[in-house]
């Protein structure tokens, strides 16, 4: 059965009626979007893995119990669950998580850029790290919107619903996030040149 042509709602129905492949395809389709959003919020790989897993356990329990509202879209719904778990974590801990490692490159990136010069690689690594650090410097509400929009691919309406603000506020936060990143990158470039 080729599930790639199924939409999320069909996959949910398939899963609810007992076909595990429905969940497998939903995970394959959305894991990166959801995991990246969690990871860039909590800044810790192991914690992100735990939250990702807990979010899907809640998803499974809700789907199995028949409490899933079919009018809602699957991805925004999972993002809401993950978002709430992240908030719960910070409330409990009341601290900023420790960054466990610089974690830098994954195997895929290493293979993809294997033939670049050492200097290019250094520059790319630096840009990668800079951008990641700059995202972390954004105010939480701006960072959240940027991650949900770019990585989770949510609409501004979905982001607004999820964060309890108006669409205009969500749009404004995205603009400010980009504007601030732009300023930071400019400052960084000036530092390199200076």
């Amino acid at each position: 059965m080729n599930l790639q042509s199924y939409n999320d709602q069909d996959l949910v129905k398939l899963y609810v009626t007992g076909n595990e492949n429905g969940l497998q395809e939903l995970l394959r389709r959305h894991k990166s979007k959801i995991y990246t959003s969690i990871y860039l919020l909590v800044k810790d790989q192991y914690l992100a893995e735990d939250i990702f897993q807990d979010a899907f356990i809640k998803v499974i329990n809700t789907l199995r119990s028949g409490r899933y509202n079919e009018e809602g879209k699957f991805l925004p719904w999972v993002m809401r669950i993950a978002h709430n778990l992240v908030i719960d974590y910070f409330r409990k801990e009341k601290r900023t998580p420790i960054i466990t490692s610089s974690d830098g490159m994954d195997v895929f990136n290493t293979l993809q850029f294997y033939d670049e010069s050492a200097e290019d690689k250094m520059l790319r690594d630096q840009t990668h790290k800079d951008l990641k650090a700059m995202i972390q410097l954004l105010p939480d509400e701006q960072k959240e919107v940027l991650l949900m929009r770019h990585y989770a691919d949510l609409s501004f309406k979905e982001i607004a619903d999820l964060t309890d603000v108006s669409i205009n506020t969500a749009l404004g936060r995205m603009r400010y996030a980009l504007s601030n990143l732009r300023k930071m990158l400019k400052t960084k470039e000036m530092t390199y040149k200076g």
């Binding site: 990166s32 990871y39 356990i57 951008l131 504007s179 601030n180 990143l181």
Partner: protein
């Protein structure tokens, strides 16, 4: 006679205004262009959970 003065605290607002609302010259087109420029860089920050995590989720699902 009433004495007037200007607060010195406003002189260097630029230093801590990084996260203040945009007021100025930056047009939406500029921001859109900037976003287009950094999209691929942002994409490179995307990550996947470990296979082990996915397998645990699937195992939990099968056990329910």
């Amino acid at each position: 006679m009433t004495k007037t003065s200007t607060s010195k605290t406003n002189v260097n607002l630029q230093n801590h205004s990084m996260f203040q609302p945009r007021t100025d010259i930056e047009s939406d087109a500029e921001i859109d262009l900037f976003y287009d420029q950094i999209k691929s860089k942002l994409d490179r920050l995307a990550k996947n959970p470990q296979d082990e995590t996915i397998n645990k989720i699937l195992a939990y699902s099968r056990s329910k």
